[in-house]
């Protein structure tokens, strides 16, 4: 009786004590990098390697170079579980500590942060995801999504299919199916695919898969009936794994099955085993862990036991992506430090740094990456950066991803007007005056 009351009292006290541990502003002796991760929840298998790559690069900078410009970096992880509300709570908690840039790795959380970050003057760097029309920097001053976006990716995929069919003229009459996750993210590619279907004359079939996509029998029965020449997939999480397995089960030629860059990771092909051999996906950076930078990370970070994950994870597709994300942010910080002549930069400075990203192959080589990604140039009006898309293929025996195409440039002449139209609509609805970028 008394024990029960004591325990209730103790638990309430513990909960109340936790309430006191909220945050206050931090002194700026370090450069504070918030890291919104999801190491738990339904998307943890994808969130973990990304978070590891992200953290390892900053650890490398700290251990090898003593930070950026001599100031150490502090990375604090906040676990969102891919939940939008928790993401917002993480944002509120971390922004007061001098956060320099947010990369939520979640389209839902990105949408939440777009209005808030613009008011709080902290850049949101949603690399290859988030709101596509944020590529129009005149309306979305604080949002960046370089090196490329979903709409550009869709156009690059059509180019790839065209190249495989022997020319864009041969697309006429071909059947292309788009299997997509029934959410805002999955639907992103649809308008572009429809516009291009009218232009090039292919038959487009749109097949939605309901969240979470654990059961896709009806989708693949429809594929069986339709017998499309090519399948493009915009999936995420378990939907990818089940899709690859179903495609293998019905005997669909895997090399005609192209996933987007969130559907092409090691996690997605593991359950299908040998059946996934030949599955392709798009990407905007190289797979594999054999670059000079990876060796550096292994030598400096993992040898000292400071690695965020397992050493075998270095070089996985999403690890490289997290690493790339960290590279862009650290280069932006460096650029801002040089331009504004101060070591302790703020969010506004880093925004400028991101907006003036201009990295060519020599710059990448200096960082230890060769043929890893195309030239990236971001500008005031163009937050998409002019990145290129390439196709990689899974080798189930060697258990590795390898490039099977050249770099494709997206059809910017078709995509850019669409982006500007959507950005203008957003600006009108929210009473935003677009900047003048001349």
């Amino acid at each position: 009786m008394y024990l029960k009351k004591f325990v209730i009292g103790a638990m309430s006290a513990a909960v109340a004590a936790g309430a006191i541990a909220t945050t206050t502003a931090m002194a700026a002796e370090t450069l504070f990098i918030p890291s919104m991760v999801y190491r738990t929840g339904p998307y943890a298998p994808n969130g973990v390697p990304f978070a590891n790559g992200y953290k390892d690069y900053f650890t490398l900078l700290n251990l090898r170079d003593g930070g950026i410009g001599g100031v150490m970096l502090e990375v604090e992880e906040c676990e969102t579980g891919y939940n939008t509300k928790v993401g917002v709570e993480c944002y509120e908690k971390l922004k007061g500590k001098g956060a320099l840039a947010f990369s939520p790795l979640s389209t839902g959380i990105t949408y939440q942060l777009i209005p808030k970050a613009s008011v709080d003057k902290i850049p949101v760097f949603s690399m290859g995801y988030g709101r596509t029309s944020a590529a129009d920097g005149r309306v979305f001053e604080y949002i960046f999504n370089f090196p490329t976006t979903y709409w550009s990716q869709a156009s690059a995929v059509i180019k790839y299919i065209g190249s495989k069919e022997g020319g864009m003229e041969n697309l006429k009459g071909k059947k292309i199916a788009h299997i997509y996750h029934n959410s805002a993210y999955g639907k992103e590619a649809n308008p572009t695919l429809e516009v291009l279907a009218e232009k090039f004359g292919y038959d487009l079939t749109l097949l939605a898969v309901d969240h979470p996509g654990q059961e896709q029998k009806s989708t693949w029965l429809q594929i069986r009936r339709l017998k499309p020449d090519w399948i493009y997939m915009s999936g995420w999480g378990v939907m990818n794994q089940v899709a690859v397995k179903e495609a293998a089960s019905i005997g669909y030629p895997m090399d005609r099955f192209v996933g987007n860059w969130w559907s092409g990771t090691e996690t997605d092909v593991t359950p299908a085993g040998a059946g996934a051999h030949g599955y392709t996906s798009t990407t905007f950076h190289a797979p594999g862990g054999n670059q000079a930078l990876h060796d550096e990370i292994r030598k400096v970070v993992y040898a000292k036991g400071e690695g965020a994950g397992k050493e075998s994870g270095v070089g996985e597709v999403l690890y490289n992506r997290g690493m790339l994300n960290a590279i862009f942010i650290s280069e932006a910080i460096r650029r801002a430090q040089e331009h504004f002549k101060t070591k302790n930069v703020t969010g506004e400075h880093v925004r400028w740094g991101l907006e003036n990203t201009d990295m060519k192959q020599e710059d990448w080589k200096k960082l230890g990456l060769v043929d890893f990604i195309g030239d990236i140039k971001v500008s005031c009006a163009d937050h998409e950066g002019g990145g290129q898309v390439r196709v990689q293929q899974w080798d189930a025996e060697a258990k590795s991803w390898n490039f099977v195409s050249e770099w494709f440039t997206p059809m910017r002449d078709i995509i850019r007007p669409m982006i500007e139209a959507d950005a203008a609509a957003y600006a009108k609805e929210n009473n935003i005056t677009p900047r003048d970028c001349t």
Binding site: P42, L206, L207, P212, V238, S249, T267, T270, P271
Partner: protein
């Protein structure tokens, strides 16, 4: 006029003009339905014997599958590194997993069921939700949250009979479900424990007065349910890899439960088959008219429709209220 034609005539014309494909759709639906029934069976067993709607059934399936994969690959629990000599052969790993699920049943009975005897069903439902959270956290901590491939040697590939493709995996799943239901039927009808379970399902007080130990029955029922969860976890986990989303299959099994009735094993099977076939036919023949992805809510609408005629499901016990 066009719309009326498209909704009421065209799909049927389609079905009739391509009978091979229609057969494939129906077969596919039946197979999917069997997979749903596997999950629904676990719910039914526990509800029948203890009146508890066990929301954590999905998480139990996930936990069982995680344990199986962990044991097969020789992962050290909580430390998450793989040790080669700990890796067990499939059949042994399955036995150990069954033992773990029985142990879990003991723990659940001790920590949760015993303390909540005679509470309202909604309180027990809530307690199983708490249990689901705990199992989810423990499972993640013990075995890690990456996607694990599950391959216990179920045959893959397909064969074709006059244009209709039949997946070997699904035949295997259907056979397993049939065997499971047969074993459960024998267990419930021919053994002493089975009789005791049916007695408890009928009336707790009467069963107590005849000398049946409620606690023992609950442990047995939760263990059997754990076994069923393991089978369901293996089937679903082989298709998608073992990961958190596996626990969401419980939501797919709910329409099966309401259609078949919460307290009926044959109801779970028949309900599963009806929902499976209904879902697929609706999605493939009527789905394209409205843009697809109607499966989720269609299953519930279908079950709702049946409920309007039989409020306790097809085979469920009639709720008799006396004033």
């Amino acid at each position: 006029m066009d719309i009326l034609y498209a909704v009421f005539v065209a799909p049927f014309v389609d079905m009739v003009s391509y009978p091979a494909f229609f057969t494939e759709v129906v077969l596919g639906g039946l197979m999917t339905g069997v997979m749903y029934s596997l999950v629904a069976l676990g719910f039914v067993l526990i509800f029948k014997a203890s009146g508890v709607f066990n929301f954590s059934q999905g998480v139990m399936a996930l936990f069982a599958a995680l344990t199986l994969v962990g044991l097969m690959s020789g992962t050290v629990p909580f430390a998450l590194n793989e040790v080669a000599w700990l890796a067990m052969p499939v059949w042994f790993a399955i036995l150990v997993t069954i033992a773990v699920m029985i142990g879990l049943a003991f723990v659940v009975e001790f920590a949760v069921l015993r303390r909540l005897v005679n509470q309202e069903p909604i309180i027990l439902f809530m307690a199983t939700i708490g249990l689901a959270f705990v199992l989810e956290g423990v499972g993640d901590l013990m075995w890690g949250s990456n996607v694990k491939a599950l391959d216990i040697g179920i045959p893959t590939g397909f064969f074709e009979i006059s244009g209709v493709q039949i997946q070997k995996f699904e035949l295997f799943a259907a056979a397993t479900a049939a065997v499971l239901v047969a074993v459960l039927a024998v267990f419930f009808n021919k053994t002493k424990i089975g009789r005791a379970l049916r007695a408890v399902a009928d009336d707790h007080q009467a069963a107590l007065s005849v000398g049946i130990s409620l606690r023992k029955i609950w442990i047995i029922v939760w263990s059997v349910s754990g076994l069923v969860a393991l089978v369901a976890g293996i089937m679903w986990g082989s298709k998608s890899g073992v990961q958190f989303s596996l626990s969401l299959i419980a939501l797919k099994a709910l329409p099966v439960l309401i259609l078949g009735g919460f307290t009926s094993v044959p109801g779970a099977i028949v309900g599963g088959l009806i929902i499976g076939v209904g879902e697929k036919i609706a999605e493939i023949y009527w789905g394209p008219l409205v843009g697809g992805a109607i499966e989720n809510w269609f299953a519930y609408m279908l079950a709702l429709l049946f409920l309007l005629f039989r409020p306790q499901g097809l085979f469920g016990e009639k709720i008799i209220e006396r004033v």
